[in-house]
Symmetry: C2
Subunit: 482 residues, 2 copies
């Protein structure tokens, strides 16, 4: 390789061209792309600085052992892109258009903790995902799918899935769900964001959220430009008087199994809440996040079924199949439908078509009902294991809330406190537990009088053995006074 002298540019050592050698020996099909890529990198890295003159194409071709045409093309390519510039017959230089990327490095690894046993609430058991059935469904769906289904989807969702979901939700959750009312979305988070954006466009600036409640509701509303107002939850449900006092006209609720308190809204409170929504021409957002899982009786049907023009219903397959599927549904009052669908359209044009067909197929064949029964059995057993272990290790514990869902509230008597010491010792022993107070202001208020340790314990993602082990570790790490 000959050393290059730039006439009119800076001198360049032969090393600068050596970096092109690996690219020059790439397979013929990708050689041009490799050369262009290596040359771009050399300019970007500053190894070739602005003003540097490139060797004549004939020379470089000889040095690299490639055709002159390939070098000419590469020069033209990078000139068209702005990395190089060329004068009339006067050679090719490195241009001055390139700016380096900021060197900031971001972590690619997932962000999660390293507890030995983590009682994080809200996670299903991912090992229950029916992989074999899902793979079979995928093959069958792909074999039968009309081509046009792979095109740009209807932002409302595929008609087949909407029809199937309408039937499923009417049957299992008592909702009013004509297919025309169902909007397929990526889950409850997207549904909440869609509704928040639509309500903000209608002039809502504040919306009520349950307190205690899921912090995620407030986060989503805030991101949509709406101020969340915490509304106290008592043993019957969200406080309707407080709703009126706050002056909101919409509220996000979890009536079938309030998160995190674990109550089901009473019939009286359901009626009061509907009365409030009608009187203010408002909207109740019903987050039915785990409404399929009740272990002592049939789940309470959705509030939406009582008044579909004042309740928006949201749900997903996140707890029944897997959160990673990102598939859910949203049923909105007729007056909000167009606005919500247009928001959905600009957000993502609609959910992936194959995933929708797959879920429709899965539900149609009865596989979804089977999966719910399977999860129901597994989660009921885990809840029983947890409650038994709690009573064994922490005498006097009160487990509150209905027998449902994926978590319990455990209230340990005062002698296990103070709570901060308890939590620190648990963490040191590798057991991650969260205090109820993490989930809202009134959670703190409500439990301030009765001291003790008040925990939210998720169990669905842990095997019975892990649950037992976690409670054993926890009990060994903490100590009751006296």
């Amino acid at each position: 390789m000959t050393a290059q002298r730039a006439d009119g540019g800076r001198p360049v050592g032969s090393a600068a061209w050596e970096l092109l050698l690996p690219a020059a020996s790439a397979p013929a099909r990708s050689r041009g792309r490799s050369l262009a890529s290596a040359l771009r990198d050399a300019v970007r890295s500053g190894r070739l600085t602005a003003g540097t003159r490139l060797p004549a194409s004939r020379e470089l071709a000889a040095d690299l052992g490639v055709s002159r045409g390939l070098i000419t093309e590469t020069y033209e390519q990078l000139t068209a892109e702005g990395y190089l510039r060329s004068g009339r017959g006067s050679g090719t230089w490195v241009g001055d258009a390139v700016r380096a990327a900021s060197p900031a490095v971001r972590d690619l690894a997932p962000r999660d903790g390293h507890a030995r046993v983590d009682f994080l609430p809200g996670l299903p058991d991912l090992s229950l995902f029916p992989r074999a059935t899902w793979a079979t469904a995928h093959r069958q769906v792909l074999a039968e799918l009309p081509h046009h289904t792979l095109g740009y989807p209807d932002p409302r969702g595929l008609p087949r899935l909407r029809t199937v979901l309408a039937d499923l939700l009417a049957r299992r959750r008592g909702v009013v769900a004509e297919p025309e009312r169902v909007i397929v979305c990526s889950g409850v988070a997207q549904a909440t964001t869609l509704l928040a954006l639509a309500l903000r466009a209608r002039g809502h600036t504040t919306i009520g959220v349950e307190d205690p409640g899921s912090p995620e509701h407030g986060t989503l509303l805030t991101a949509a430009g709406i101020t969340p107002k915490g509304i106290a939850v008592d043993v019957e449900g969200v406080d309707v008087t407080a709703l009126r006092e706050q002056g909101v006209r919409a509220v996000v609720t979890t009536p079938a199994h309030q998160f995190p308190s674990g109550i089901a809204y009473s019939a009286r409170r359901r009626a009061e809440l509907l009365g409030w929504a009608r009187s203010v021409d408002g909207l109740i957002v019903e987050d039915d996040y785990d409404g399929d899982f009740r272990y002592d009786r049939a789940p309470v049907g959705a509030l939406q079924g009582l008044d579909p023009e004042h309740v928006a219903y949201t749900g997903s397959v996140s707890k029944s199949l897997a959160p990673g599927l990102r598939l859910g549904w949203l049923l909105v009052p007729d007056g909000l439908a167009d606005e919500v669908v247009e928001r959905k359209r600009v957000m993502d044009l609609g959910n992936p078509a194959l995933d929708q067909e797959l879920l429709a197929h899965f539900v149609e064949r009865g596989d979804y009902d089977r999966q719910l029964r399977r999860c129901q059995r597994a989660y009921r057993e885990r809840r029983d294991t947890l409650v038994t272990a709690l009573h064994a290790h922490f005498p006097g514990v009160r487990v509150t809330g209905i027998a449902a869902g994926l978590h319990v509230i455990a209230r340990l008597p005062g002698r296990w406190g103070p709570q901060d010491v308890f939590l620190a010792r648990a963490a040191a022993a590798g057991v991650a537990v969260r205090p109820l107070a993490d989930y809202g202001v009134s959670a703190t208020g409500a439990t301030a009088a009765e001291d003790g340790v008040h925990l939210v314990l998720g169990y669905a993602h842990l095997s019975p053995a892990r649950i037992t082990e976690g409670l054993r570790l926890l009990a060994g790490a903490v100590r009751a006074s006296e």
Copy 2:
């Protein structure tokens, strides 16, 4: 079945209870759910009105031939839900909580036209989707996937896919794409919405869009609360002087293959545009919608590669695989990354995990490159067929723009006009074609001087035979003067 008399309520004929008979003969496992469902429907439909007293559980059980316990449970269930109410030992009535759904009926059918041949631009050939390879990939991915991948995803995308895309985009499109910079999203529409929301939060109230250009860019910006400003496109690209005059600090562009004009931005214009972005501390959004398809030479590399801190790069698999997959990518300047990722999180928590793993697997195995070559061959042939047919049927036609992408601009001489008559005759013959003027103000301006018929013709989704047929139909329907 005995007729029921409501004491203290209205009398109810026996017919009201007959509607429960089908539910009562449902399989034991679902009988309770069926009964509850039928009773809810009766209340909602008004067949059972508020105040109606229900039969005693013993009587109804006898009438329906089911256990009394089942009726008691059903009554309790619907009382808990608010459909019924009960007094102390004084029976059960239909409550007054229910309100009917609005009867509005929405169309479930997809909204599309019925042209015999539709030259709609922007659609790939969905029959080229590699179903067999995709199904195999799905099976392999599902067999190997760690459970945790099915959990709530990283909103930025799975590390495996981000790594694969970084390599793919650097190699094929010359972008600067460390995996840390790649954000997986559902496509260019979502990417544009994410960027628009992030820019609005930074105080941008107006953003430039190409004119002529894709109407979708303006729609997305408007939905994000930003006013789009049309910026004229000339033969070298978007007019940088006009950008300065409009006072915008961001612009959405299609540098590799401008839509719809079909030019590639010149090297000089690329440099000017980057200079502008740096001088206003602004952002160029690069929509690389069909950057993989160039038929006469290697595609011009992405603008983003020259200055990743002033260019946000967006692309997807919509043209190379299928729009229905809803999978794409976004590369943002480091300073915008956190904001964009948080917007992505509240929008949908991230893309479906299985789909991401599937695409990563597909790219890793070289299947994506094979698919691009396959599409490239097919689309090049279709473009050639279209151009040949245009010249045969419309002598004097000018086909402008580079040999790339999924559409051409055809400029028919004045004798084929006036354009509105031409379009009406085409439509009557069942051939859907769109005038260039549909895509912007300056499209009209630029072509006003030279009259004639200026069409945007998409060809990628049509087989060569359909293209030939479409042109034959078109030529038969319209007539040149003289």
